[in-house]
Amino acid sequence: MNKVVETSEAALSDVFDGAVILCGGFGCVGGMPSTLFRALAKRPVKNLTLVGNAPVLGIEAQRTAARTLKVPEWYADGSILLKNGQVRKLIVSVPAMAIYRMQEPFPIVKALQEGQDIEIEMVAQGTLAERIRAAKAGIPAFYTRTGSGTFIERGKEVRIFDNQPCLLEHAIKADFAFIWAYKADRYGNLIYRGTSRTFNATMAGAATITIAEVEEVVEVGGLDPESIVTPGIYVDRVVKRSHPI
């Protein structure tokens, strides 16, 4: 058993037109599977659905947020797929940020203004995380109070539990999960680092194929069994990142 793949190109050679992709990370530099996004941008696949918290903010937003902290040159997120016209739909919590004043419009704003036809499903961040976890855990649907009485409620079943209106939310079914991790072994066991764990650990195992971009590959037995965050059962392919953070 060896889940380590030599190149990111090989790791995502079977991504197909119309694929639904879970995009790891939170939306800032730490934990973003940049190498995988770069590799996919070179492949002629289109009509992709990107699912994530804020997967298309782009590098400019990072520079604005980071202020004096340096954003790595090799940084990339899902916005490079957006720029290429490869994206058909976003299922996200934050498509762009109102608070930042940037030189250029956010990538999603630009794509829409350029005439791209992109569907956007806005999801509350916690509901997004839970819908992804539900897919991993074989739970087809669940109820949550989040979003009740807001525009999120539209078109959804409302049901009362403990006198509180709750919305029925469905698992998000995805074909691929692109995630980042700090270290892996060839079984696919993963550990993370600090707040870069975030959606990466949530998405591992939530898609048909989970591909992990990692900083380091260690020997089997090199990760403490008590401290493995993502057991290898959830990971299909591991590829070493070319650029360390």
């Binding site: 800032c28 530099v29 109102a98 956010f106 509350a124 009485g149 764990r197 975030t198 949530t202």
Partner: protein, 235 residues
């Protein structure tokens, strides 16, 4: 002498609410400043949506590490006793009622405690179509963790400037912007006042130095109930 509180001072007043042992989540903007003002002798655990509990003050540029950020995209510092977890675990904490206080910024708060804090506008202005809205590029909306925090935290405190830049009330009878959640806000701390949301209405409890209740009422849409023990904002 009249003196509006500045952002740091609003955050300082909010931080007075943090008791020893509490878990507190801070939203972006003014709320995020409150992590720097915990009272001496109190241990408060700060929670961030992207998966950390027990972080320290904001990091300097030299200390900053891309693997140690909060949900407002600010670098943070580690503290002993800190822990990291996945995003679903982080929102299990939020939705499951494990956060003692959520401090959120607001665009509008209604007299019933409805909160609007994630969209500067209303879907109705765009025929209910979020894509049309985003296409305009005008304040493209983003939900983030606010909806979950507003329904999940044991207590929601709003920290904000009392009025808009045009001096219009942000404390209103009914929110016009898209809602975050209904009837969720307990306390409003602004540059002018501290107001409690009660079943009887908004209770003005504290007031900025030199201001009169009438002056606060003038920039607040719903009628304010004046607390018997109304006092100057204490820090």
């Amino acid at each position: 002498m009249k003196m509006r509180l500045d952002e740091q001072t609003i955050a300082m007043r909010v931080a007075k609410e943090f008791q020893d042992g509490m878990v507190v989540n801070l939203g972006g903007g003014i709320p995020s400043l409150a992590c720097n003002f915990v009272a001496e002798g109190r241990e408060v655990l700060f929670h961030t949506e992207n998966g950390a509990l027990g972080y320290g003050p904001t990091a300097s540029t030299e200390e900053a590490d891309w693997n140690l950020f909060n949900a407002s995209f600010q670098p943070i510092t580690p503290l002993p006793g800190m822990s990291f977890f996945s995003h679903d675990e982080s929102f299990a904490m939020i939705r499951g009622g494990h956060i003692d206080i959520s401090v959120l910024g607001a665009l509008e708060v209604s007299e019933k405690g409805d909160l609007a804090n994630w969209a500067i506008g209303n879907m109705a202005d765009y025929n209910g179509n979020v894509v049309s809205w985003i296409k305009t590029g005008r304040f493209p909306p983003g939900i983030g963790g606010a909806m979950d925090l507003a329904v999940g935290a044991k207590r929601v405190i709003v920290a904000m400037i009392h009025t808009t830049k045009e001096n219009k009330p942000k404390i209103v009878k009914e929110c016009k912007y898209e809602l975050t959640a209904r009837r969720c806000v307990s306390l409003i701390v602004t540059d002018l006042s501290v107001i409690e949301v009660t079943p009887d209405g908004l209770l003005l409890k504290e007031i900025a130095p030199g201001f009169t209740p009438d002056e606060i009422q003038a920039v607040t849409e719903p009628p304010l109930i004046i607390a018997r023990d109304l006092k100057e904002i204490e820090l």
